[in-house]
């Protein structure tokens, strides 16, 4: 049963990584920028959720607040930070992005305190179910279900609606899409808005899972997300989803097999470095690195 427990943990973490990483890989696909500050969006989503939930007493309203604040923040990052830097080498906006993450993280610490914020009422965190001897927490189920709904919705959106098709077209062939009358600037805003909303949901769910939001919440996850999108072949959503689940499981089992000589948080990068040496273009990506 222990192994099944690990699988449950691994899958729920994998779903969380997926929600976090898809926004990142979409930004890379569209703009060729490593959007490191995505972790700040994730943390902002977590803070917005916990603060609004504590203020209103409703976790649903907490998530609603996060879904309003973070897309605006994501679009502001694009407008104010990345757009003016698009003509420079790709590492220039990336370093600016690292700077923004460090700044935001310290700002969260200063404004909301080192200790972090906990939910005042969070029955969900302590609810567990016993399914055939395997203990599953309500939040873990929520993470998996939310991720499934979100990715199904995203799939339908990008295949069945005009806006979604235009979005995909712009990501794969920006010039040709523009010649068909799709406004690439609008697509970028859409991209940042949706990616940020996904990260915010992931942030809120992690906050529920830990029942705590502290300034470092986005930090390790963000670098794992970087590893994941590279593993998935930068810009590929399908690759990112696979890599997220694989990493969730590898980490989960890795802690018992190699946890004695390596930190859990370093496993992602071990996997990353091994894979990059064998396949520099990632799991799926066809583009040369």
């Amino acid at each position: 049963m222990y192994y099944i427990d690990l699988a449950v943990t691994g899958i729920s973490f994998g779903c969380m990584y997926a929600m976090m990483s898809v926004g990142l890989t979409l930004v890379y696909g569209l703009l060729r920028i490593l959007h490191v500050a995505h972790a700040a969006v994730f943390a902002l989503g977590a803070y917005a959720t916990v603060l609004a939930a504590n203020a209103t007493g409703s976790i649903t309203l907490g998530f609603a607040a996060a879904l309003i604040v973070t897309p605006l923040f994501g679009m502001a990052i694009y407008r104010l930070l990345y757009e003016p830097l698009l003509d420079y080498r790709p590492d220039v906006p990336m370093i600016a992005s690292v700077g923004l993450l460090v700044l935001m993280q310290d700002a969260f610490r200063i404004v909301f305190g080192e200790q972090g914020v906990t939910f005042r009422q969070n029955a969900l965190s302590f609810t567990t179910f016993d399914i055939a001897g395997v203990t599953v927490s309500a939040v873990q189920i929520a993470i998996v279900v939310t991720a499934a709904i979100i990715f199904l919705g995203l799939h339908l959106f990008t295949t069945r609606t005009r806006i979604g098709v235009g979005w995909r077209a712009t990501v794969s062939k920006p010039r040709i899409a523009a010649s068909f009358g799709i406004d690439p600037i609008k697509v970028r805003y859409l991209n940042f808005a949706i990616g940020s909303a996904l990260a915010a949901v992931a942030g809120g769910l992690v906050a529920l899972l830990d029942n705590l939001v502290d300034p470092g919440i986005g930090f390790v996850v963000s670098y794992k997300a970087l590893a994941i999108i590279v593993l998935g072949g930068l810009g590929s959503v399908r690759g990112t989803l696979i890599a997220s689940l694989v990493l969730g499981l590898v980490e989960s089992y890795g802690t018992i097999f190699i946890g004695t000589w390596l930190d859990r948080d370093a496993i992602a990068f071990l996997a990353l470095i091994i894979l990059l040496m064998i396949r520099p273009q990632g799991f799926i990506g066809a583009r040369t690195a």
């Binding site: 490593l34 700077g99 670098y223 930190d263 370093a266 071990l270």
Partner: protein
């Protein structure tokens, strides 16, 4: 000199070596490394182990240099396979791996680090003079490399790798050389840091420290030795000079990184060069 001044000057010297050596990799050769702290750490641990075992200062420095450089050349091989963004992520990964690995190794002191490292016997001011001498040597070496054929080849590879290869420059060999030299110097700085503190934990070599080093390089003006030296001195003194900055250190560093890239992507060096051009024109 008071003990406080001595320690500040020592830290400045160490940071100058680190920033200038990172500038050789990222500035001269264009290989963005966000894991310089790992090589600094490798050097520090090598020196610490050597000092604890045989307490020999020159050997400890040599061990630090070799440990940093060897580790760097291994990572440099990654730069042959992956480029730009991928390389940046890989070096971030190397930093996390280094910290995650050391933390679990009992022979490296694990979480507790290595304490009780024997003193060098030079005293605090002797250490400071050693650090300053090596910092000056590093700056002189960087200026020399910048003007040499190797510096030209580094820049060519950094600007456009394919064009450089067409000109008959062995891009791979020069990238490895840049990594080897830069990280060996970072290792050396690590050795000096060990002498200075006589107590090391792995937290001193984390990713945030690597970002601070990159901030020094970018704020100084990527590729400019003097700009980077000025930024390393300035950014080390800033938290000391302004007390409130110390509490908000990361806020200030992050903010400066964003503002400098946004407003003056050439950094300090770019601003100085720009004002000269203006002065000449007016």
């Amino acid at each position: 000199m008071s003990a406080y001044t001595i320690s500040i000057v020592s830290i400045i010297g160490i940071n100058v070596i680190l920033a200038v050596s990172l500038n050789m990799i990222s500035g001269f050769c264009g290989q963005i490394s966000l894991g310089h702290g790992a090589f600094f750490g490798a050097g520090a641990y090598a020196a610490a182990l050597t000092m604890v075992k045989i307490a020999n200062v020159p050997l400890a420095l040599l061990a630090a240099l070799v440990a940093g450089g060897l580790f760097g050349i291994i990572v440099g091989f990654a730069s042959l396979r992956v480029r730009s963004d991928f390389l940046a992520v890989t070096t971030i990964g190397v930093n996390f791996l280094f910290v995650g690995f050391v933390r679990k190794q009992s022979w490296l002191g694990g979480e507790m680090g290595i304490s009780g490292i024997p003193p060098t016997g030079l005293g605090a001011s002797g250490n400071m003079i050693l650090i300053l001498a090596l910092a000056c040597a590093t700056v002189a070496f960087s200026l020399y490399v910048s003007r040499s054929w190797m510096g030209f080849a580094f820049r060519a590879v950094g600007e456009d790798e394919q064009a450089a290869t067409t000109l008959g420059i062995a891009a791979g060999a020069y990238k490895l050389a840049a990594f080897g030299i830069g990280t060996a110097l970072a290792g050396l700085a690590g050795g000096l840091y060990t002498f200075f503190t006589q107590f090391i934990t792995v937290d001193a070599f984390d990713f945030i420290f690597s970002v601070m080093l990159m901030a020094m390089v970018v704020i100084g003006g990527i590729g400019s030795t003097w700009g980077v030296v000025a930024a390393a001195i300035g950014l080390t003194l800033l938290p000391e000079a302004i007390r409130f900055v110390n509490d908000y250190r990361l806020l200030v560093f992050g903010g400066m990184l964003v503002l400098v890239i946004r407003l003056a992507p050439g950094g300090l060096a770019g601003l100085v060069r720009g004002s000269f051009v203006h002065a000449r024109q007016s």
